[in-house]
């Protein structure tokens, strides 16, 4: 506890610690969050503090939570409920047809195993009014987002990709810059929305879209 000023490295490290502690407010917290998105080194400092301070978690008491799991599932997997009711309506179809469906499904499964790296279409983000468009594909547990028309955002701005569960709030998937964006992320369920907003360089500072939303697409709507 001397009066020696902190070195730049120590300042970065303590800033990451302050962010994890949660003591920063307003612009400072937002800035730290933004920096973590751009700067993997700083993101690693944050992650290290999260685990380092985890020793304090014993101070949190358990508290009975209501069973919110069905609501969480409904948010995440809306297609499951839909598929079930579809099945209910169709269950009187002749058995040869069901057999054919099962066979086709098996072929699909085999194909999926044999060619795991084939990129499968998830959604196209494009509109007549926008000069830019993106295509979202999936391979394995990853999504790939590629710009198919137009140019990246103007200097000082950036396109940010969002995933929105039905009835839920947007979750940022990352910033769309000149190269394709590869995200470690399983394909979203049918009925989820992908969206692109225009944000200040570095991305939204609030964790939610702040600029105009220029593109949206519902997963499964164009297939």
């Amino acid at each position: 506890m001397t009066g020696t000023p902190l070195s730049p490295k120590e300042i970065d490290d303590s800033l990451a610690g302050e962010y994890v502690l949660g003591v920063l407010i307003g612009a400072e917290r937002a800035e730290a969050e933004n920096r973590a998105k751009r700067d993997p080194g700083f993101a690693a400092l944050i992650s290290a503090w999260e685990f380092r301070l985890g020793g304090l978690n014993a101070g949190y008491r358990e508290m009975t939570a209501p069973n919110l799991f069905p609501a969480i599932e409904a948010r995440l997997f809306p297609s499951a409920a839909r598929a079930q009711s579809w099945h209910g309506r169709r269950n009187r179809l002749t058995s040869w047809f069901s057999g054919a469906v099962v066979a086709a499904a098996l072929v699909a499964v085999v194909v999926a195993f044999v060619i795991p790296l084939r990129i499968q279409h998830v959604a196209t983000l494009a509109s007549e009014t926008s000069t830019v468009g993106y295509e979202v594909g999936q391979f394995g547990q990853h999504l790939r987002v590629t710009r198919i028309v137009g140019a990246p955002a103007d200097p000082g701005l950036v396109h940010e990709l969002w995933l929105i569960p039905p009835g839920g709030s947007p979750v940022s998937l990352g910033l769309l810059e000149s190269a394709s964006l590869i995200i470690n992320q399983p394909a979203p369920a049918v009925g989820w929305t992908l969206a692109v907003s225009v944000e200040p360089a570095g991305g939204s500072t609030t964790g939610q879209p702040t600029g105009p939303v220029i593109l949206t697409a519902e997963v499964g709507a164009d297939t």
């Binding site: 949660g22 999260e50 020793g55 101070g59 949190y60 009975t64 939570a65 919110l68 979750v171 992320q185």
Partner: protein
Amino acid sequence: MSDDPIAILIAKCASADRSAFRTLYRDSSAKLMGVLFRILKERAEAEDALQEVYTRVWLRAGRYDPIKGRGMTWLIAIARNLAIDRLRARPDAANDSALDTVADPAPGVESRLIAKGEARRMVDCFATLDPERAEAVKSAYLNGLSYQDLAARHAVPLNTMRTWLRRSLLKLKECLEK
């Protein structure tokens, strides 16, 4: 990872295993509810946040690296981060009145900390800090207090509090990594 069942469940979620996700909710939701309620102090908001937390957990499961630490620690980091974002976004965040009305359930905290082997080291390292500063770090972490809250609570200028905390964090890190 074999001694960390939560870590195994998170890894299964990353490969889209929904029954593992259900088990993860069963085994971790009481702890995360405790975290969210402690910081947000409102049951309805904590319940809403809990849904959001598990949505994020499912979506981000692939980013969890068991080498870095325990699965529950990762889950709690997501819950704390969301709770603090919500707290700071409240209209009254600037002059947080909840500060004076909710007392720390302090005495139990220390003894529960000691009970856990992993946290034992944390207790030893906290003991190397000035007691008032150690208390500031702990209450910030557990209750989601801001610098403004802490400065008011300890009756010191904001910059002093910031210097205290930064130095304490670095000292803590040095001790934990010995």
